[in-house]
């Protein structure tokens, strides 16, 4: 069974976000990492890059396939998880903690409220 954390918001594409003030931290769900299998590479965006809600901001690649990562909300990248460059498997071992992918400055913090609740996401998978 996949773990779904209660303190996060989710998307239909299996990303999660946690927001504190105007900063959002984003990763992929436990269900996503299980479906992907062993992650071998993560393509990270440049710090300072801006994306609209739903834009592809990176790629997560496994032995099986390469999958786009979609930004749950609009914003500008303020930090990327550089540990993923050498240890992409953190996405498998710790999808909600050490395997976070980017932090963004939220353009419209209210967009977070529109995302799926843990219960709604559970219904989806």
């Amino acid at each position: 069974m996949s773990t779904i954390r209660d303190d996060l918001k989710y998307t239909q594409d299996h990303e999660w976000i946690s927001a504190e003030g105007n900063i959002g931290k984003i990763g992929v769900s436990d269900f996503a990492q299980e479906s992907l299998g062993d992650v071998t590479f993560v393509e990270l965006p440049e710090v300072g890059a801006s994306f609209a809600k739903g834009d592809a901001f990176g790629v997560v690649e496994s032995v099986k396939a390469a999958s786009d990562l979609y930004l749950p909300v609009s914003g500008t990248v303020v930090e990327v998880n550089e540990a993923l460059e050498d240890t992409p498997e953190l996405i498998n071992s710790s999808p909600y903690d050490d395997g976070w992918i980017v932090k963004i400055e939220l353009e419209e913090p209210s967009q977070v409220d529109e995302l799926l609740s843990p219960t709604a996401y559970k219904g989806l998978i």
């Binding site: 299998g37 062993d38 071998t40 590479f41 393509e43 790629v59 690649e61 032995v63 099986k64 390469a66 992409p88 498997e89 498998n92």
Partner: protein, 366 residues
């Protein structure tokens, strides 16, 4: 489309938490824990694969050897009872129908192990070309469970539960012996680039054998012992072994694929594809299959172009991640005249990535 088949030991693998995927008409275990962990277990210790989807054809009759020499590219005149040999089965135009292993079980009895994806086509091909030979062919694909024990510890793992001394069994040799009171064929063959054994077990008795193997693995405290098709592919690609439909196919002949050693043009019989393959060899193939590693973790997948400057000089045939080298590796078909070009690359999602040709085993390259 015929119905998808289940392997005889499906319940056994479900109990070991296998994840199944449809492959070549069969529901097959693709992974149990992690493709990378299973891969490393086989390189460092020992792992078990169920490859019962593979096809088995039994050939008997007084002209079996003559038939094999006509049907296949390798030379079977000197294949002894108890030995096996890898070969191509080619069309008259030299392209590959399938690659296979022939086991000589007795003077006039052979087991031919073929790819699952080609099993029906292969059997029809063999029957079609057996006309005029005193032979009998029987498709026994559903009668055998095939378990592969692979890895440097294979012999020490299996020896205590096998009623024979496996250390005396040489590579590409087989012998009938008992395991868990079941008589089966032990063959020292595999598809991983490691030492290992393949066990041909009568399907109805396979569960007893699998259970004995599982108990031994538990006693030994082995981790990641159960291995799926996922790591079978990454292991064979690191080892530089071809997979039908990728490095050899109905458009890639064995000479082009670098498997000329399986084509015995000098043997004392005609064979299917001989004149075409002789011509390809004499004229030198215009393209070659080669193995490479990338200077990156991004995987170049089948069909991706290979570039030398602004020239497209080849195409990726197989690509994966090497858990040993921790970079992307693969195979490609490339214009022969461009193999010596100073720098080649693939372009993945807007990034140019340098490619280096390596002689297999890829994972042992510096």
């Amino acid at each position: 489309m015929s119905e998808i088949k289940n392997i005889p030991l499906r319940a056994f693998h479900e109990e070991k938490s296998a994840r199944f995927v449809p492959f070549a008409g069969w529901n097959m275990p693709v992974q149990y824990t992690s493709i990378i962990q299973e891969h490393i277990a086989v390189r460092e210790r020992v792992g078990l694969f169920d490859v019962s989807h593979m096809g088995e054809v039994i050939l008997t009759g007084s002209e079996s050897v003559a038939f094999l020499n006509y049907l296949l590219t390798n030379d079977f005149f000197d294949l002894e009872v108890g030995a096996s040999r890898y070969s191509m089965m080619c069309e008259p135009n030299g392209m590959v129908v399938d690659d296979l292993i022939v086991y000589r079980l007795d003077e006039e009895e052979f087991l031919i192990c073929v790819n699952a994806s080609n099993a029906e086509k292969d059997f029809a091909w063999m029957v079609q070309h057996s006309e005029g030979f005193d032979v009998n062919l029987e498709d026994q694909s559903r009668d055998w469970v095939l378990l592969a024990i692979q890895g440097p510890q294979s012999e020490s793992f299996l020896n205590p539960i096998a009623a024979m001394d496996l250390s005396a069994l040489e590579r590409f040799h087989h012998q009938k012996a008992i395991l868990a009171e079941v008589e089966l064929w032990f063959s020292r063959t595999g598809y991983t680039g490691e030492d290992g054994f393949e066990l041909f077990i009568p399907s109805e008795k396979a569960e007893v054998v699998a259970t004995a193997i599982a108990e031994r693995a538990e006693q030994q405290g082995l981790n990641d012992f159960y291995c799926g098709l996922g790591c079978r592919d990454s292991l064979r690609l690191e080892a530089g072994y071809p997979l039908y439909g990728h490095e050899i196919s109905d458009v890639i002949d064995p000479i082009t694929a670098g498997l000329g050693w399986t084509v015995k043009l000098g043997k004392s019989s005609d064979f299917l594809g001989k004149s075409a393959l002789q011509k390809i060899k004499d004229e030198k193939p215009s393209r070659r299959v080669k193995f490479y590693k990338l200077n990156d973790r991004r995987i170049a997948r089948q069909g991706e172009s290979i570039w030398s400057g602004e020239d497209e000089i080849g195409e990726v045939l197989s690509g994966t991640h090497s858990p040993i080298l921790q970079c992307a590796i693969g195979s490609a078909i490339v214009d022969s005249g461009r193999l010596g070009d100073p720098s080649m690359e693939v372009r993945l999602r807007g990034k140019s990535i340098g490619l280096t040709w390596v002689k297999p085993p890829v994972h042992l390259s510096k």
